[in-house]
Symmetry: C4
Subunit: 390 residues, 4 copies
């Protein structure tokens, strides 16, 4: 129980009032939360969230990498007056944590991205809205109120549709663009294939219908025909055509805020992002969902952080589950991390309330662990705070 | 879901139509496929396929080696226009994948090698027919139609029988000879011994009866006497006499196509194969089925590839289960890989249809993962694409 | 069975008379003991003892570190005439083993710290009484009789209360002060949070009520109000305010015996402790209960021991379960170790008798293993006695 | 199935006739054999054989060490004409395998050491009789017939008893003495302690009664009094007094054949054995039964083999389960290995027949695997045949 005035007050609140009655996700442990989600959800949605590419090797590698790096706590540093406040892209965040873009959230809870935006906004954390949202970006923007709004782009092959999406996002107040590079075609995902479960394509449809008049004109067929129409139009628009570095000016031309490239896993690609004038990168392997057998994102991070130094903003995701995980990523060079599956499970359990519980738990854990390692600010962390299993 | 015109279309097909109704092997995951085969087959056949030598240590090591090497995906490389096409031994293959020789396939499905040849042929992949086939090489050749035909030799001690087998294979249109060196005597295999299950000897009998007039003259006894006759004649012919490097000219004299040596695990043996004028080698530990406690084939590959450079064709098998596995073997120096147990399980589930499903799944996974790592061709892969767990 | 006259006689005693009838903890194996405690205790108390911070990673790392270091036994050294006697802080102990401070022991057995003190005293081992004891320090001192008395301090923010506690401890005959640095705020512990189980705060209350007249004056409310009063007063007193190195003279001014700092995990902090004139340090990560993802205590020990040499006394805890574990910690530079969960499980099974059984078992194991590695005294051990898994 | 004329014929025999009807231990797999023994035996005897010291860490380390070393098979070496024949201490053995001393074998089968001696003798393998045999050394010698006889000494503190034992062993035709150094006091073994199961002391009694007239004179009390008498006399005689290097001349004075020291785990101790004129050493950690947390015997072997070179005979035990294990120990410098638990489980299943089955299986596996790695003789093996996991 902590007397600190920040996020760790959630610890006091839980001890005083208990979790069980108030929160459907009545656990503060990720493993238990995932197990509970498995019981609560149908196999299709659960495995869409929990599953990974191929044999799941990258997902396991992500976790194993966190285990190889160990925090070395320091004593008597006077870490009471600590704060998680962090500057990202020139703006201040209450904590070095964002909500990763997770598509089609309505498959786990009807409120979907609306609930997520509300929970994130209440805590002042940016929620990165996926192109494949199950609610329109305008609805989600409204739900998020005054909270910081970031938008994730699956870069379509149709430039008009792309420009339309970006224009709508700017108009709706999204400040920052996160361009996902690692999913220009969907991975081989046995859990989804075995069930022929593909909510992604419906998500794309919901989200971009307003940006695609050619499609909207063709609606009002039977639901089955509509689905086939969507597949025929959107699959080739969103998959199967990888982009190249020389296309980045197109995005800059249609977006006047910061742009980050998500999915960087090699130092040379990070350098190219800097040279291309990108405002930031997200070191990520998409939570192990795209390339099976890929390097753990955390193992890729140190060389990338060293390669780019302060020349661009380095964010991180893939495998973050606990406060200690966040600290390890920061120590290895990330400015902030994106959280994915944990809040999706929170959403599955209790909508907005569930997301809030998961976020408050992570932030409390993070604030406490930051202090217990002897630090007053995320900015203090460096590789010297880590011990590496040889 | 991919819009690429190649093998990855199988992904679209599955999402649109589902797996469950169409394919008895209703899974795209190797672990699930093996578990399903275990339920479907009698213990004898299942463990003959799934089992390994001794304690199974080599089989486990094969898999662990794949886990230690990790792919590092590259972004924005324009990998859409990619192709799996590969040149092996001067000829073009649609993908760097062959079907490894698997003996006595009728123990898992009555169509056995006929079904396998049909499925491989339809995809243009070479299927390497085992000497211990449960159908005659002529029947399998006919079943395979126009597809590429390779023949695997268990090198008998009787030169006349050997010459006869090779002559029949040439006459039946087999182009390439794969000489298995690592199985001149059968390993100690507890799963088969505990059941006294030895289909291999019957397979040898079926396959070479036409090449062994001395034996055929003695048939028409009771089945039990026939089996004992076969054992007495063929066991000393196929086992118990290891060959030496100076015998290779005999094979060259009786085979006018390319010859590859299978079972190479040491760089010095690879160099000797080059010096002996062999057209290629297969780095392999026979899927862990021969020497228990042996080096993982993937761990042996880098030094071998470095030792021989471009002076001979390097193929690889042992432990390949996913598209990422194929890419790792290619990155470490293999030109193509041979797939074994996965298609045998496909055969067990659905004959030709089952083999085709497994092959199409692997090729789709491979094509997608090749692209998602940022490559347009298997030829681009090199050790620089890998991260090695220290 | 050993003929040695020391602690290993317990081995003879067990073989001759059997464990089952005499000791409720009828096992000499830690894993079985923990499993039995899990059956015997309510989930709240069991997981309070067995649980760890966050995902439990540090707890697992503690054990894995012991597995990486291996003892190399020496032969024919005449180790019969061996003794576990050890000098710590200038005083002689019968063995290099102390009882770690464990709070609120009444949650596992009503006799709690009284039983522990009696068992330790009978063996001549120091028991380090926790500030969060469920019996007053005076009661525990009386229970311990002539045994060595150490006192552990959770350093409160109220200097008057702190001085009062230290004065009471000195008056009650506690000789040595162990200041826990790593728990100035309570960790994020999912097992306890999920049950809103926080016995710690009640323990603090029981133990310091006599040192806190301001609180005692407010008692005689309803139990529920009392709890809230305690929380409101003691939470901010014991948590949320990290101390700094310049506050150590305060402790020296109020304690005229040896002072050790517990929770040191970095060589620089160990050097600062030396420079601050501390009499000793305890290398510890609080049994994995504070910082999730922290370095294993045993992995931190060698660099710390090298950094401080003989300039201060180095003790160790976190993960010690067997005699071999004790020897490994000694070989890496510790003068003695503190045992925690094992004796708490002994207490859970049989009060004083259970603690004594666990202690006698550990000491017998230790004395036997010391001899079997070829040593006559703990002082002989050095890093040369270890083999390190590469 | 092998056509070789040696031990591998057992493979043919099994395939032709099956195991199930003929051998109660109807398996050729160690893991299955151990599981079957667990079902067949009472917990006391089973765990006495299967159990290890302390937490079992050394036992697990023994196996893990074998997994880190990997055989690299060589091809086309003409290994058909191979033989397992080996020269040990100037005499020829049919294979580099001995039967390790296992005490009180009657706890798993009434025939005990008599059955073991008969099975070993029939194969020409030396069986090392334990001092703690449940049959007298004279009876076992007679049972073994013409087979090679080795004798293991637990070195008692009473020189007269020691001289008497050695004299009886010589008179009964035992040629070689193996002095166990690592068990001068019994380890802390939870499995046995928890059951107060100590057959060892009865074994010592049975075996040495003829060498201890002082005890025999006191017999004819009640069984319970006899046991207590035995404990009182033999425990201090066989435990609790470690010897020193300067006592070795006593053994030499009472034994005119070769002497080996068993339990060597450090290169310095191996050098001392050479300097003391010992004929050989056995690198061993007693199968993990003495020092918990000790270095794996296989990990200790390379440095020891390098230290002594050809100056003394290096044997090995601890963890050998398969033919590949034998080859790895030989490649790292052992001349031969001792097999323990596997044959004890064979004995438990079928007495002499069960031991023979286990031995024939191991020898067949060894002979096959020797050939398949490309060798004609155990003498060819060297560290170059191994790949080491980094």
């Amino acid at each position: 129980m902590s007397g600190d005035p920040g996020f760790s007050n959630y610890q006091n609140e839980i001890y005083l009032h208990g979790l069980e009655d108030r929160h459907p996700p009545f656990t503060t442990d990720f493993t238990a939360l995932e197990a509970s989600a498995r019981e609560r959800l149908e196999p299709g949605p659960f495995w869409y969230v929990a599953g990974a590419a191929g044999s799941g090797a990258t997902d396991r590698a992500n976790r194993a990498a966190f285990d190889r790096y160990r925090l070395v706590p320091r004593m008597l540093t006077g870490a009471t007056g600590r704060s998680l406040r962090t500057t990202v892209l020139g703006g201040e965040l209450p904590a070095p944590v964002l909500l990763a873009p997770v598509g089609v959230q309505s498959i786990v809870h009807p409120d979907g991205e609306l609930a997520t935006a509300r929970a994130a906004s209440a805590l002042g954390l940016p929620s990165v809205l996926s192109t494949a949202s199950s609610h329109t970006l305008e609805e989600v923007a409204e739900a998020g109120g005054d909270g910081p709004r970031w938008f994730q782009l699956y870069w379509p092959n149709d430039d008009d549709v792309c420009a339309s999406i970006l224009g709508r996002a700017r108009a709706a107040g999204y400040s920052t663009l996160v361009v996902t590079l690692d999913t220009w075609t969907l991975a081989w995902r046995p859990h989804d294939l075995d069930r022929a479960y593909l909510p992604f394509i419906r998500g794309i449809g919901t989200a971009i219908a307003f940006s695609d008049p050619a499609f909207r004109a063709g609606l009002a067929k039977s639901p089955e025909e509509d689905l086939i129409s969507a597949v025929l139009r959107w699959v080739p628009m969103f998959t199967g055509t990888d982009k190249t570095w020389d296309r980045l000016p197109f995005l800059r031309a249609h977006w006047d805020g910061p742009i980050l490239l998500k999915g960087i896993q090699h130092a040379d690609d990070a350098r190219r992002a800097v040279n291309a004038g990108m405002d930031g990168i997200v070191v990520s392997n998409h939570g192990g969902r795209q390339v099976d057998g890929a390097v753990a994102a955390l193992d890729a991070l140190p060389a990338i952080a060293e390669a780019v130094g302060d020349r661009t903003e380095v964010l991180f995701d893939s495998g973050v589950r606990t406060g200690a995980d966040v600290l390890k990523a920061l120590a290895l060079g990330a400015k902030a991390v994106l959280l994915g599956r944990p809040y999706a499970y929170g959403l599955a359990h209790g909508g907005e309330d569930g997301v809030r519980h998961v976020l408050r738990g992570l932030l409390a854990d993070l604030e406490i662990t930051l202090g217990l390692t002897g630090h007053r600010s995320p900015a203090e962390l460096s590789p010297d705070d880590l011990w590496r299993e040889r």
